[in-house]
């Protein structure tokens, strides 16, 4: 009986960490756009779903792995992000109207993207098929479902790659600088608008990859993105605005809390515990776990 309880406990932790890895992937883009650039991109989940459908289409037609497809097609999402930021900047940010009108703009983008997906793909649930979708490795009584393990490692690679990029490259440091002081950056001879545009494009590129992870994990339909709006901002805030490591740790914390609660106390309590943790963390560390 005790061995079974330990096995249940360890499985709950492992499942939570795997889930948290996925949460990190869907949230890291918001950490850049909202955490660093102060752009409330409420349409971020819609781009995740767009990424899901593109990955699904290539997978269904040609049999290519959806995650590899998303990496190859990430420049397209990057370009889309550039275009979107350009419109946002010219229409709202440049005129000082980014707060409420900018938010409304992204709501509009969310709904337009959703409706476009409905018109093109229909409303039925779809899911990508891969060699690892239904496979599970069992090691010492611990389950490792590959549809969660593979996205976990891809997410980890994406987060580590982003952190490296932001801290070790000139452009990455320019993004961190624009988050701190745009005027100072301009005085250094760097155009903050250009930097923000490229950073925003990077956040949309991560959404494309996150979408591929999503459609490996569970079935998707066009309006499912709305269910992730609260989660992505919660992870960003919990981790600390603009902190990539914070996003990863925050996501792992939320995923583990959700899994642990679902296993031992009932799944209905999981959102309450997760968001209760968020509130408790903010009460003691208003800047989030890794925020300054």
């Amino acid at each position: 009986m005790e061995a079974a309880s330990i096995e249940l406990f360890v499985n709950a932790i492992v499942a939570g960490l795997l889930l948290g890895g996925f949460y990190a992937a869907v949230s890291v883009g918001i950490s850049i756009s909202f955490g660093m650039l102060d752009v409330v991109n409420i349409a971020h989940p819609a781009f995740i779903i767009l990424g899901s459908y593109i990955a699904y289409t290539v997978n269904a037609r040609f049999g290519f792995d959806p995650i590899l497809t998303s990496v190859v097609l990430s420049p397209l999402f990057f370009a889309l992000g550039l275009l979107l930021y350009r419109i946002y900047y010219l229409c709202f940010e440049k005129r000082g109207q980014e707060s409420l009108r900018g938010l409304a703009f992204f709501f509009g983008v969310l709904f337009i993207t959703e409706v476009t997906l409905v018109l093109i793909f229909g409303v039925d649930y779809v899911q990508a098929r891969t060699a690892y979708t239904d496979a599970t490795e069992r090691i010492a009584g611990i389950d490792f479902p590959l549809r969660l393990v593979v996205p976990f490692f891809v997410s980890l690679a994406m987060v580590i790659g982003l952190q490296f990029f932001l801290t070790r490259t000139f452009f990455g440091r320019a993004v961190l600088a624009v988050a701190q002081d745009q005027l100072a950056l301009r005085l250094m001879g760097v155009d903050p608008v250009r930097v923000k545009g490229l950073a925003f494009a990077l956040s949309i590129a991560t959404a494309g990859v996150a979408g591929a992870l999503l459609i490996v994990i569970l079935p998707v339909q066009p309006s499912i993105g709305r269910e992730y709006i609260g989660l992505v901002f919660a992870v960003c805030v919990l981790g600390g605005m603009g902190s990539i490591w914070g996003t990863l740790v925050g996501a792992l914390v939320l995923g583990t809390a959700e899994s642990f609660t679902a296993t031992f106390f009932g799944p209905s309590w999981a959102p309450a515990v997760s968001f209760g943790l968020l509130l408790a963390t903010l009460a003691f560390r208003p800047a989030g776990l890794f925020g300054r």
């Binding site: 409303v123 309006s223 679902a262 799944p267």
Partner: protein
């Protein structure tokens, strides 16, 4: 003379207005899930309802009036439903209203109907009228006069026929109207059969990973696992059962989504051994000869519109719902809501889903929910499902084609 002229003019005006009214379209209003979690079924239902409208209009309409729909997307959002139906009645001035698909969007419409004394035909809600007891409510889903009980009856009848009899059961469902009502019905049977509940919880509908839930269920070693779920959680629970290696004698019961093509093809062999409710199966097609007509026409259009290409679940009943309404309007010669309700209560209708009669509470007079077990599924192709061979009908007895293969996990070997 003057009086006769005025009388003639008045009679002429009345005759003219009657003719004009008769030529005005018969407007039927409803909300339907065209986006959101239940849109797959909503769009499929809409196709069938439009089929009925087109069939009726091809024969000259009802009482000489062409049928016209006025509908809006309820986005599978219950909060949008009251305002939507208020607009249909107050602004669009529809003559008749019917419901959208599903318990979650039917329940919030009922108070609006009660306020306006409207006759309300509804599409696949599990006991949404249980608390309102509205006398003009009618349900086309064949769950029987006690819907929650009738819905879950076959699962527990099949389970208790196993030897040895099961002793323990785990019940789990989404935090939503339908699963709550289904689990209430399950508890009635559990109490009746003296089963012990070892797990009884609900989960948020937007749960991503269901493995912790299934693992917690496994830890209680239940003989039976009854699940009441919507399509995304149905897929999640079945995947989780596979990943955790769930061991139980029977698994399934009230999982919405397994009735249509998208989930069947996605899950493929993972469905082997799952026991679940159905409205129709090709294996018993001879018992439902009237369905061939509607399913064939539906399938042609469904493929073009990117909705469920099989159409075994909702479309026939959506068509039948409109048939009941159409026959009632014809028989009562108008759209008087009280007369329609009275007529529907006392009449047995001939429809594409067979004879339909209603109990006092507006539900079907008797239950006709099939309980089936999936088996022999080898791949993920739609072709596996187009004919008989993947489904064993376990009950009710008049439709039975075989016995349950237990335990559940042995079906995966």
């Amino acid at each position: 003379m003057k009086f006769r002229s005025m009388l003639a003019a008045a009679l002429g005006a009345i005759a003219f207005s009657t003719t004009v009214a008769a030529q005005q379209p018969l407007k039927i209003g409803f909300g339907m899930s065209l986006t959101g979690a239940l849109a797959g079924n909503g769009k499929a239902a809409l196709i069938a309802m439009e089929q009925w409208r087109d069939d009726v209009n091809a024969k000259g309409g009802i009482l000489g009036r062409k049928v016209e729909y006025v509908y809006y997307d309820d986005q599978t959002q219950p909060a949008s439903v009251p305002a939507l139906y208020t607009k249909l009645m107050d602004v669009d001035k529809v003559d008749i209203v019917v419901s959208g698909y599903g318990t979650a969007v039917i329940a919030p419409a009922i108070p609006v109907m009660m306020q306006r004394n409207m006759c309300f035909m509804t599409l696949f809600g599990l006991n949404p009228n249980g608390k309102f007891n509205y006398d003009k409510y009618f349900q086309i889903m064949p769950a029987g006069p006690q819907p929650g009980v009738g819905w879950t009856q076959s699962f527990f009848d099949v389970a208790m026929a196993m030897n040895p009899k099961p002793k323990t059961v785990a019940i789990v469902g989404a935090d939503a109207e339908y699963p709550h009502n289904a689990l209430d019905g399950a508890r009635v049977h559990i109490k009746k059969h003296g089963l012990k509940i070892v797990y009884d919880k609900t989960y948020p509908p937007n749960t991503v990973d269901y493995a912790p839930i299934v693992r917690a269920i496994q830890a209680t070693n239940p003989d039976l696992v009854y699940v009441a779920s919507y399509p995304p959680d149905t897929a999640g629970m079945i995947r989780a059962a596979n990943e955790v290696g769930l061991k139980t004698r029977m698994f399934g019961g009230g999982m919405v989504g397994l009735q249509y093509a998208s989930l069947r093809t996605q899950l493929g062999p993972l469905l082997n051994g799952v026991v679940n409710y159905e409205m129709y199966a090709p294996e018993v097609s001879k018992k439902f000869p009237f369905l061939e007509k509607i399913i064939g026409k539906y399938q042609e259009r469904a493929v073009k519109e990117g909705v469920d290409p099989l159409g075994y679940y909702l479309p026939p009943y959506a068509y039948a719902m409109m048939e009941v309404l159409g026959q009632a309007i014809t028989a009562t010669k108008g759209t008087d809501q009280a007369k329609l309700a009275e007529y529907i209560h006392k009449t047995t209708f001939d429809t594409v889903v067979g004879k339909v009669a209603f109990a006092k509470n507006g539900e079907w007079a008797s239950s006709r929910v099939l309980m089936v077990q999936f088996g022999g599924i080898k791949g993920n192709s739609l072709d596996e499902w187009k004919g008989p061979g993947r489904i064993t009908v376990l009950g009710p007895s008049e439709y039975k084609t075989g016995n349950v293969r237990a335990p559940f996990q042995d079906n995966r070997k």
